[in-house]
Symmetry: C2
Subunit: 354 residues, 2 copies
């Protein structure tokens, strides 16, 4: 008597849900038929109504869930997007993420998040890992980008003209104009500037926009009133430090235009500690309009970036890139408009409100 050859089942296979083949067996049909009906493929047009009903109701009854890997393997698509950000726990990235998520999940996609914390090796490695995971597309938020990949790539605030990538960017010229006009309109002439870190992809474009805007208005940008953030953390301490240095330098100024809200907060604290009042002695304009900007004390005047919207646009764009329907190229850059939000940290030169 030959030994009974019980085929070894996979360890976890026991309580797994029913497979397509099992379903087909139960119905006395072939997997092909079941597959075709369940996916509402055009081939199913010739399947009789009766059979279709049977299949669909059986699928419901046995709670059939298609195996994701089998399907992805066959279809060569993962319905997954990789998102790379500098840091998950900072306001900028999470706002964008929130917009990205909105759109992706609605479209039936999921996404991986990876944060590189400005480490060059990770900036290189994560996109590769994403590809190993067979993502259908990649969104890079505020992250330098040089790769050329075989999936669509969209950056948010990326300014490299990499081939095949679409950049979703703020209209920095408008942003600079809004802020500078506001300050100049209030009578400010000696304006200090806090530039972003060298690694931040917006730093350079924004700075150029500022130079252009000030030039147009005949405002001089003094190098002595220009400081630059340094350091990786997303903490107000960076703005605090440079502003303290600025005050110590004794150069007179009546306004600060900060690179972002976080540094503006640090700046305000530094000014306070130096005995300067905000906004009576120094007006401060932030950038981004993160959640807490409105609830600072005083509340922060700032240039709002529509971050959620930028995320949504990025998601739409990357998905559009996946459908090979529309020709790939399209626009290389999508620009969104900022908005000036005037709150309490700016006032007319010499004002003494309160």
């Amino acid at each position: 008597m030959p030994p009974k050859k019980t085929p070894k089942r996979h360890p976890r296979a026991s309580h797994r849900s029913v497979s397509l083949k099992q379903l087909a067996d139960r119905l006395g049909l072939s997997p092909a038929t079941v597959s075709v009906v369940i996916n509402r493929s055009p081939v199913a047009d010739t399947i009789s109504q009766e059979t279709k009903k049977l299949i669909l109701s059986a699928a419901r009854k046995f709670n059939y869930r298609p195996n994701f890997f089998a399907r992805s393997l066959r279809m060569q698509r993962s319905l997954t997007i990789g998102v790379i950000v500098p840091e998950v726990s900072d306001g900028y990235a999470t706002m964008v993420l929130s917009g990205i998520e909105d759109h992706l999940l609605q479209a039936g996609y999921f996404y991986f998040v990876a944060s590189h914390r400005h480490r060059a090796d990770l900036i290189d490695e994560y996109p590769r890992l994403f590809l190993d995971r067979a993502v259908d597309g990649i969104i890079a938020v505020d992250t330098p980008w040089h790769h050329r990949l075989r999936v669509p790539v969209v950056t948010v605030s990326g300014h490299n003209e990499a081939p095949g990538v679409v950049n979703v960017v703020l209209d920095h010229e408008l942003a600079a104009n809004l802020a500078i006009n506001h300050l100049v309109g209030l009578g400010h002439r000696n304006i200090a500037f806090i530039k972003g870190q060298a690694f931040s992809s917006d730093t350079e474009v924004r700075w150029n926009a500022i130079l252009k805007a000030t030039a147009q208005l005949g405002i001089c940008v003094s190098p002595k009133l220009t400081v630059q953030l340094e350091g990786d953390e997303a903490s107000p301490i960076l703005g605090y430090n440079v502003t303290t240095a600025l005050v110590k330098s004794q150069q007179p100024f009546t306004a600060i235009f900060a690179f972002n809200d976080i540094s503006a907060m640090g700046a305000i604290r530094a000014l306070r500690e130096s005995g300067l009042r905000v906004p009576e002695d120094v007006s401060v304009v932030g950038f981004d309009d993160i959640q807490s900007a409105a609830y600072q004390n005083p509340s922060l005047t700032t240039v709002r970036q529509p971050l959620r919207k930028m995320g949504t646009i990025a998601a739409e764009t990357v998905l559009r890139g996946i459908r090979p329907a529309s020709a790939r190229p399209g626009a290389k850059e999508i620009t969104v408009a900022p908005e000036l939000v005037v709150r309490e940290t700016t006032c007319a030169l010499g004002c003494e409100e309160l």
Copy 2:
């Protein structure tokens, strides 16, 4: 002459990377051998050194990357964790996420994020979608949890005793003690409380802890000085609203213990607008110690939750649950300790600093 039967290749198959089989063909070996060597499986022990070298160098040369789906399909594991949070763009969740990410990526896992925005249908649906995607485990952050799933589940700040799930929670009794002791030590007796929204999983436990702590100190908790946040947004406006109402009610109080930093910020603004100074007239204690707490003006005294650490622990725990090595059950609850961070929004009753 029979028509040449060129097997139709898949659309995108062209520039895809080399497969295991192709690699094996090039080497004149079988896929089995190559697989075994590349995965350093025990079976490979009997493969000659020479062959191994050949295989590994060929793999490098042709930049072989195993197909993720094929592997997952076979191995029944995805190296992916699903994380569900109320909202990606809020400080609490992102801090936890940051800790989760740290650990998961190091361990070779990726994670999906989905935010339910307190919609009951999504709280139900996302875990299902995660399972459809064959995640190996789920982490639920500040999210009510009732399911019993076939993968390990870890909650952060979950307080339901669902079977098979591990809860990572703060020691709320300690937290309440720290805060109340601090205030009482400063002479405060009439303390107002801002309770969390009903849907927040910490609300109830924290409240009970507060009742216990006050009872121990003989402090009376007046219902008239107790307000509750309402609304979904993660905005200070919620705290602002209830505090405004509190002030209007004319009940005397000299301190507020808020449910979180966000509502504390709103509370401070409301107090200010009512002509009350913080901390001279009213001391305020927040909760969480989110990034911006230290940079409020005045900076916020608060109870710090080690959110990143909680995330890391959650990640560790869920991965431990996946390895079937260690027996599944283990502790049902892992407690972490809060820490009181005294800053500028609290001072002794009757103080007039500045």
